[in-house]
């Protein structure tokens, strides 16, 4: 019989919840509106979502102020932990979502967007991701992870193509398996330490000096498998290409950024303390996994015939590239992770949006898939501007200076150098050389071949509207003039990461 515990409300300090609560409220609002009066136009919901997300950003900025003044804030029975990396991750999540939402206002109508539920679920997912990054409690992580994932499966399925259903089913099934892994892993740690809060786990383990290292490793193995699935690290990546191909280009772009950053944060919280406390096994395994992920994904991307699928593989390889930050585990590398991801998200979202605006309703007869390479051949002649923009994103992804990803790349490699991972640094470099080939492939098609399928360039902008163009313009500016924003981002991120002790 437990004694009733009495807690003062302010000790909960619920304000920490605000960033997560706001989207939930927004989602409910949408649902209510729909109940009151159905059949309203999607623009309404889009705008509401945007407003909600803006508020959300406001809330996060608020917590930035609090954090910088008085460090990490715990709240709600210490379930919520608002530290620097949480804040950065939340910012990335929300801003990218903000950039994603307008893509719903495409020229062609895709009926998932006509459902208000779409936006509601979208908001739920966001709050799920935000929860995931603002806690070190395995339960909460698990729950929020599942919330977000389930929402994501639904969103994918709502695209309502055969392929999208297939993608959803695959993603879902594998996700369920991963969930099993996660829960089992956390169970092992719970068994070992009697706690499910990461920092306590680390204390306990440190306390008994990793007495039964074997079980620690088992637990780690399970968690690694689970996170590896969400991050699509080889060999747990198998779902990624299919899901990307199955879902709409916009959604694919979104998926390539937001879920990953959330998982990165979890991985940082989960693995870095293990690495720092000298679990060689994890280092080795991560090392192998990272190299595999970078290389194999690149090699498979080489042989793709569909641009979206190629981008899927490329984003896997980028993930592997960034994952090395967690292996290195220095402040520089952790900041590099966020910087890379911020800059990467500009470019990648832009690239996928370019695919999105070139999305036709009906495929041309000798076009194998929505975004097959030959669709883009001779683009420079039919619609030069689009071609140049696309090429720009490709070059940026290839890590060519001075475009966005380059800065992330050098900072990441530099962190590897500084952390003493010389060989890894060279592997990273050579991998971006391999990657150069398939990004170049698209450029070759666009600039050096004669038009095959789209004799007139209409198909490339068939889905374009002002909002989409705005987003792309934003991405373009972000990609080209990144060298201006790199420094402030660098300083901001480094400060926060450092302050939260990573």
């Amino acid at each position: 019989m437990l004694e009733p515990i009495n807690i003062s409300l302010e000790s909960l300090n619920l304000t920490t919840l605000s960033p997560m609560i706001i989207p939930v409220i927004g989602a409910l609002l949408i649902l209510i509106i729909d109940i009151i009066k159905g059949g309203l136009d999607k623009t309404l919901y889009v705008m509401i979502t945007i407003l909600v997300l803006l508020l959300n950003i406001g809330a996060i900025v608020e917590s930035v102020g609090v954090f910088t003044s008085d460090g990490t804030i715990m709240g709600v029975f210490d379930l919520v932990m608002v530290d620097g990396i949480a804040i950065i991750a939340q910012l990335i999540i929300v801003v990218v979502s903000l950039l994603f939402v307008p893509l719903a206002l495409s020229h062609k109508r895709f009926h998932e967007f006509s459902y208000p539920e779409f936006f509601a679920i979208f908001l739920f997912m966001i709050s799920g991701f935000e929860f995931m990054v603002t806690t070190d409690n395995l339960i909460l992580i698990f729950v929020s992870l599942e919330t977000a994932s389930l929402a994501l499966y639904t969103l994918i399925a709502m695209h309502n193509r055969d392929k999208s259903f297939e993608a959803a089913v695959k993603y879902f099934t594998l996700g369920a398996l991963a969930a099993g892994f996660f829960s089992f892993g956390s169970m092992v740690f719970y068994a070992l330490t009697g706690s499910i809060e990461i920092n306590q786990i680390s204390e306990v383990l440190a306390g008994n000096g990793y007495a039964d290292i074997g079980f620690v490793l088992v637990g780690t193995a399970f968690l690694l498998a689970a996170l590896g699935f969400k991050l699509s690290l080889v060999p747990f990546h198998a779902w990624a290409p299919d899901v990307y191909e199955g879902s709409s280009a916009a959604m694919a772009g979104y998926m390539s950024i937001v879920p990953r950053i959330a998982m990165f944060v979890v991985a940082m919280r989960m693995f870095e303390f293990l690495i720092h406390s000298g679990v060689v096994w994890l280092e080795v395994v991560l090392y192998i996994i990272i190299v595999l992920t970078m290389t194999i994904a690149n090699i498979w991307a080489l042989v793709q015939t569909d641009v979206k699928r190629m981008l899927a593989y490329s984003s896997i390889s980028h993930t592997g590239f960034v994952m090395s930050a967690i292996l290195i585990g220095t402040t520089q590398s952790n900041s590099a992770l966020f910087i890379y991801w911020i800059l990467f998200s500009f470019t990648n979202l832009g690239a996928f949006s370019m695919l999105w605006i070139s999305r036709q309703k009906h495929l041309h007869k000798d076009q194998s898939s929505d975004h097959s390479f030959n669709k883009f051949s001779g683009m420079i002649q039919t619609s030069p501007t689009a071609a140049v923009i696309m090429a720009l994103f490709m070059l940026s992804l290839a890590g060519l200076p001075p475009f966005a990803v380059f800065w992330g790349k050098i900072y990441m490699i530099s962190s590897a150098v500084t952390g003493g991972y010389t060989v890894l640094a060279f592997i990273m470099a050579l991998n971006s050389a391999i990657a150069g080939y398939y990004y170049l492939k698209l450029i070759v098609y666009m600039f050096m071949k004669e038009p095959e399928i789209n004799k007139d360039g209409t198909a490339f902008v068939s889905n374009a509207t002002l909002p989409l163009k705005t987003i792309i313009g934003f991405a373009v500016v972000g990609t080209i003039f990144s060298f201006i924003i790199v420094n402030p981002i660098l300083e901001f991120v480094t400060a926060l990461v450092y302050k939260s002790g990573y």
Partner: protein
């Protein structure tokens, strides 16, 4: 002999393995879901046992959440399954490989 923690853990491990095998072997989507349920529930057993062993409630909380999540997963899963069945009127895994390479 009295049943100790280890027995539960062994049991849960065994169940988990069964689940894994099921996941790998089953070609029927529905059966697949069931296998995943076994996975999750095997974990529940362990959690509950451990929390009893430690005498704190965290494990049991976790177990509850797992149950909840399992439920919602089934909801979503079955939804997808039904749509798929409507479209293809089969739920055989091997049919869903239109995307490859």
């Amino acid at each position: 002999m009295d049943i100790g923690l280890n027995h539960y853990l062994v049991l849960s491990t065994i169940l988990f393995s069964i689940g894994l095998v099921g996941v790998m072997r089953r070609k029927n989507l529905l059966m697949l879901f069931l296998a995943t349920e076994i996975l999750l529930n095997s974990v529940n057993i362990a959690f509950v046992a451990i929390s009893h062993y430690y005498g704190d409630l965290t494990g049991q909380m976790f177990a509850f959440f797992v149950i909840a999540i399992a439920a919602s997963e089934v909801a979503v899963g079955l939804g997808l399954l039904i749509v798929w069945h409507k479209r293809h009127n089969n739920i055989d895994l091997d049919t869903m490989s239109s995307m490859r390479g």
